[in-house]
Subunit: 341 residues, 4 copies
C-alpha cells in the first residue's frame, strides 16, 4: 500500500542528504549570507537569465507567500486570487495577518485570466475599498492545471496595463514547468516575483523566492517575520543540488509521469477525471464504495469534496519518490474493486 | 584558525543526519501530526514531568518568540524584557509586527528580577498605556549569564502575584541547564512557556516550544504565521535524537567546557571578562591591537561594542562542535600577540 | 433640488446642537469617563433592559466594526459576512488590517441565515484554514432590508449551537427598528454586540457599541486604535438627547416615512424596485435617460450598478432631515421626465 | 474652584459652535471631500506657504500619530522618540499596533537633538534590527518645552543627512508657536509632516495633518483605520473658523498668558518649577500637604510623579477657556495654604 496523499510524505532525495552530510562540519556564517547561498542564488539568476533578479531562500510556502505580499504591497492594497487559491483557503489567513485583504475571483479550473479579473477591478474604484494590486496565481494550480506561455503572457500584459503586480506561487513549479512550455526566464520576464518550490520536489524543505527586480530591503522583512534560517546554508545547498545539473526537472518529470500513468489507468477503468490535469495532482470522481474499499486496504489519498450523494471527488498526488509499482498496485486494486463480485 | 562567532557555524551532529537519512523514504503525514513528532512531544512531557504540557516544534528562535507572545497576549498587552533582550534588539521588531509593544527594563547583566520589573508595573496604570503582561527572559541570557533555581522561583512567584505571565527563551537552554541547578521540570513548574533550542545545540534547526498548560488552538496561530513545516517529522526526529538518551546535555556540556577553558585561559593571560559568564558565550575586553591581530590571523568572533578608545568588548562563542584544539590555538595566538616584540 | 445621496448630508438635529452649546463651558474630565457619558450608558442599559451590558461611544461606523471584531476574536478567527456586507466591501479592508479574514457568503438580499452560513462552516475544518467565528450582520442591511424578530432569533440560536458570535452593525439601526418588530432588549438578548448608529440618524457623529456582557478591557483596545475622543462627553451628550425621550425613533420614523412615500410614488409611476426595502434606502431600476435627466436637473443619488445596457440601479436615501417637499419634487420630476415628449 | 487638569475640559469656542449651527442643514457630500474641507485645506496650504502640501483632517491625536507613522514607514522601519514621547507612553501601543517599533532615546527635557539620536543610529546596523527612520517630536513637548527655529533647523538638517524623516506632533502647536520663533512655513520647510491640533485649542475635536509633499493615497490609509469622519465638513469648518482670521493664535496666546501668570505667581510664592516651560503646561514640585490642601478645596490638576518622600511633581494646564480669575484663585489658595497656621 502507498500514500498518494501528497508530495511531501517522503523526506528528501538522497543526493541532498549526502551533500548536507558531506559539508556539515564546514563552518560558514549564518542567515543565508554564506558562500553556498550566494552560489545558489547566482545559479538561479543564471538559469533565469536575469542578472538583476533578487533571490531569497525561505523554509515554507505560506511563509513565502505572505512575505511576497508584504514586500510588494502598500498597507491598503489587496491580493487578487482565485477562490480556490492557496492563500485564500489553506493558509489560515496568513495574508490577512499581514493586514492585506485577499479579493477573490471565481475560476472554473483554478487559473486566472484577464477576463476573470476585470470585473473585480471595475468594482474597486474609491478609497472606501481596498486597492486590488497583486495578482496571485499558482502554477501548478490547486487543481493541478497549468499555465501555458501564452496564458502567462496575456496575464502579464494585462497586469502591466492595469498597474497590477503579478506573483506566481511555484510550490509545485517543477511539475508545472515539465507539463507546459514555460521556462524560468519566462517567469522573471513575465512576473514581478515567483517561487521555486523545493519542499514538494525532493528537498527537506525550502522555497526560493525570486524577485525580477532588486529588493534591497527584503532581508529586514524576512527577519521580522521569523523567516531567516540560522543555518541558511541548508537552503542554498539544497537548491544547488537540485538545480546545478537538472535534478529538479528530472524529479518533477518522474512525478508527472507517474501521475499520467495513474490518470490514464483510471480513465481506462472508466473513471472520470474531475479536472483535466497534466501534472502531479489528479482529481477523480470515485463511487463511494470504491473509495472506501481503497481506504480499507490502506491506500491513502485526500477526499476533496462530495460529488453528489454516492460519489466523492478525491485527489491523488505523486512525487519524485513515488515508485511506479505503487501506481500499478493502486490501479490493480481499483480494477479488482470494480469487478462485479 | 576557527570561528568563535556563534554556535550555529557548523550544521548538525552526525547522529541527527544519520537518523534523517535512515528514515527518509518512510512516508508520514505532514505538518507535525506524524508519529515521530508525537513521540518526541511525549518524550518532552515526560522529561518535564508534566503530562499536560503542550509541545510544538518550530524552525527558528524569532519565530518561536513571536508566536509565544502572540499566543499568550491580548492585543493591548505588552512584553516586558531587559533592554538587552533578544526580542528587543535582534529580531527586527518581530514582536511589534504582531502588534505588541516591548517594554524594556535596564538590567546590568541581562537577567530580570522582581525589583527591576516593579517600577515598570507602577508606571503603567491606565488604558492610555499598554498593559505589561508577559515577562520575557532568556536563559542563557544574551550576555551569557544564567538563572539559578532560586532566581527563577523568585521571578515566577512575583509574576503570579502580579498576574504576569513568564516566558523563557531557551535558544541556548542546553548551555543554561548545564551551567545551573535548573531542570526541565522546574521550567514547566515555574514558567507559562519556554523553548528548548535545537539550532544552537547540534540540530540542523528547530526549537521546541513548551506550554505548561494545554493550548488547543496554537496550531492555527502557527500556520497563520507560516511556521508549520510540511515535513514536520524532521523536527520531531531531531528532538528525539537529542533528548532520548542525553545527547542534548552532552553537547551542551562540551560547549560549556570549551568556553570555560577559553575563559580561564584568557583570564590567566591577564585579560578581563566583561561579564562573569558560566556558559558558552564569553565576553572579554581586548586591547584593539590584540583584537586586530587575531582577526588578521583568521580567527573569527563578534565585536560587541567599543570599550573606550583603545579597547573593544568581543564575544567568543563555543558549541557542541568546537574542537578543544581550536581553544588551545586561540589561547596560543593571544599569548603570542601579547608578548612584547 | 435635493440630495438623496445619503443620510449624512446634513449635519445634526437642532436639539443636539443646542445641548452642546448649552453645556460647552462646563468642565468635565476627558475620554468618556465623564458623568454625561456615564448617564448615557446607563440610559442605554435601561432601554436594553440589560444591567450588565457594556456601552462604549465611538465616532464612526468603520471604527466601531473593526473594534468589535478585534475585541471578540482571537487572531486566527474570522468574520463571516454577506458578500455585500459593509465590512467586506466598503471599509478598505479595516477588518483585515486588524489581522482577521472576512469570509463571505452570497446573500440574495443582504441578509444572512443559518442555511447560508452552514456550508461555510462545513468547509472550514482544520488549522490550515481560518476559524470562522463572528457573524457580522447589518440592520438595516446594505440593501435596505431588515431582520424580523423571528429572523434574528433563528440566527442567534444557530450561532449559539455552532459556538459562533453574533454582531449587528446598527449604523442604520433607527430605521431598522422602526421598520421591524425588533426592540433594543431583543438585541442584547440575541447578539453578543451591536451598535446604535448616531451619525445617520441626527447626530453630528457617534456610534454606541453595546456588548451584551461586560468587556472590562475594551477601553485599552479603543485607545490603541486611536478611537477614544478627548472630549468624549460630546458622544454621551448626543446619545442622551437622541434616546432620553424618543427623538431617535421619531427621526428614524420620519426618514422611513419619506422613503416609503418615495418608493410608493416611483412604483405608481411604473418603476421597479430592485430590492423590496421597508427602510430609508430605496434601490430602483431607472432607464438611463431618466437617470441622466434627474441628474441634469441637480437631483443627487448614488448609482449602484448598471442593470443591463439601458438601465441603472440607483439608490435613494432619505434621512431625519429630508423635507417631504423634496420627495414630492423628485416624484414630479420623474413623472415629467417619463411623459412622452 | 477650577480644573487645571488639561486643555480639553471645556468643549469648544462659541464661534465654532455658531458656525456649525449656522451651516447645519446645508447639504454637502461626505468624508472630507466637501467644499468646506477643500477651503480649509487651501487656507492651511496658504498659511504654510506651501502649495503642494497635502492636508487631511482627523478627529484625534493618537489617530493622527498612528496614521502618520503608517503612511511614512515601511513595515520594518521604526519610530525614534524621546522616552517621554506621547507615542511611547500614552497611546496604548498604537504605533506598535501598526507593526512598527518605537525606539526610545532618553531626553532630559522632552526634546530631541541630533546628539541624542546619533547613538541610536550607530547601534542599528543590520537586518536583525529594525531600521530607525521616523523621528517623532512633539511641540510643545510632553514637558511643556518648545523648539526654537534654530533647534528645528538643526534637527531637520540632521534628518536629511541621515535619510531620516521628521514628524512633529502638534497636538499643542498653538501654544508652541506662540512661545517660540517658529512659524507654519517653517514646519512644512523643515518637517516631512506635522499636525495642527484643534482639540486642545478651542475645537470640539480635530487635528489637521499636513504632509510637506503630496500623499495621493493617504485617504485609503485613513479609511482603513476607521479615521474618515462621515460628516467631514465638521473638521474643515472648525479649522476654517480657527485659522481664517487669527483665532487659533489668539486662543493659544490666552492659554500661554494664563500659564505664565500661574508660573510666575507660584515662583513668587517660593515654589520650584520642575521644568522651565514657556507654554501652557507647567510642572511644579509641591509639598504634599499643599497638594492635598488644594485638592481638598476642589482644585484639579494632574500628579505627575512623586518627587522624594514629601513632595510631588504636579502639572497645571491652562487653555483658551481658562478664566484669569481661576489663576488668581489658585494662587490665593496656594498662598493661604503656605501661611504658617
Amino acid at each position: 500500500m502507498y500514500s498518494f496523499r501528497n508530495d511531501y510524505s517522503e523526506c528528501a532525495h538522497p543526493r541532498i542528504l549526502e551533500a548536507i552530510a558531506e559539508s556539515s562540519l564546514r563552518q560558514t556564517c549564518g542567515y543565508g549570507l554564506d558562500p553556498v547561498c550566494q552560489e545558489a542564488a547566482a545559479l538561479i539568476r543564471k538559469l533565469c537569465n536575469t542578472p538583476d533578479a533578487d533571490v531569497h531562500f525561505l523554509t515554507g510556502g505560506t511563509q513565502t507567500n505572505l512575505l511576497a505580499a508584504e514586500a510588494l504591497l502598500k498597507p491598503y492594497e489587496a491580493v487578487i486570487a482565485a477562490g480556490t487559491g492557496h492563500v485564500n483557503v489553506h493558509e489560515t489567513g496568513a495574508i490577512e495577518a499581514t493586514g492585506h485583504k485577499v479579493c477573490t475571483v471565481p475560476s472554473p479550473d483554478g487559473r486566472l485570466t484577464p477576463a476573470l479579473i476585470e470585473p473585480l477591478l471595475a468594482a474597486h474604484s474609491t478609497e472606501h475599498m481596498v486597492a486590488p494590486r497583486l495578482v496571485y496565481i499558482s502554477d501548478t494550480t490547486e487543481l493541478g492545471t497549468v499555465y501555458s506561455k501564452a496564458d502567462l503572457e496575456a496575464l502579464s500584459r494585462f497586469c502591466r496595463q492595469k498597474n497590477l503586480l503579478l506573483y506566481l506561487d511555484g510550490a509545485r513549479l517543477g511539475s508545472a514547468l515539465e507539463a507546459s512550455d514555460l521556462t524560468l526566464p519566462d517567469l522573471t520576464r513575465l512576473t514581478d516575483a515567483f517561487s521555486i518550490g523545493g519542499t514538494k520536489n525532493g528537498a527537506l524543505f525550502g522555497e526560493a523566492l525570486v524577485f525580477s527586480q532588486p529588493r534591497p530591503d527584503f532581508r529586514w522583512l524576512m527577519k521580522r517575520r521569523g523567516a531567516m534560517l540560522a543555518k541558511g546554508r541548508l537552503l542554498g545547498l539544497q537548491f544547488q543540488v537540485l538545480l546545478e545539473d537538472g535534478l529538479y526537472g528530472e524529479l518533477a518529470r518522474h512525478a508527472n509521469r507517474q501521475a499520467l500513468r495513474l490518470r490514464d489507468g483510471l480513465k481506462a477503468l472508466g473513471l472520470p477525471a474531475a479536472v483535466d490535469s497534466p501534472s502531479n495532482q489528479q482529481f477523480f470522481i470515485l463511487p463511494n464504495p470504491l473509495m472506501e474499499g481503497l481506504a480499507g486496504q490502506g491506500w491513502e489519498f485526500e477526499t476533496d469534496h462530495p460529488a453528489g450523494a454516492s460519489h466523492t471527488c478525491v485527489r491523488f498526488v505523486t512525487s519524485w519518490a513515488t515508485p511506479p509499482a505503487a501506481v500499478d498496485g493502486l490501479l490493480q486494486a481499483v480494477s479488482a474493486l470494480l469487478q462485479p463480485s
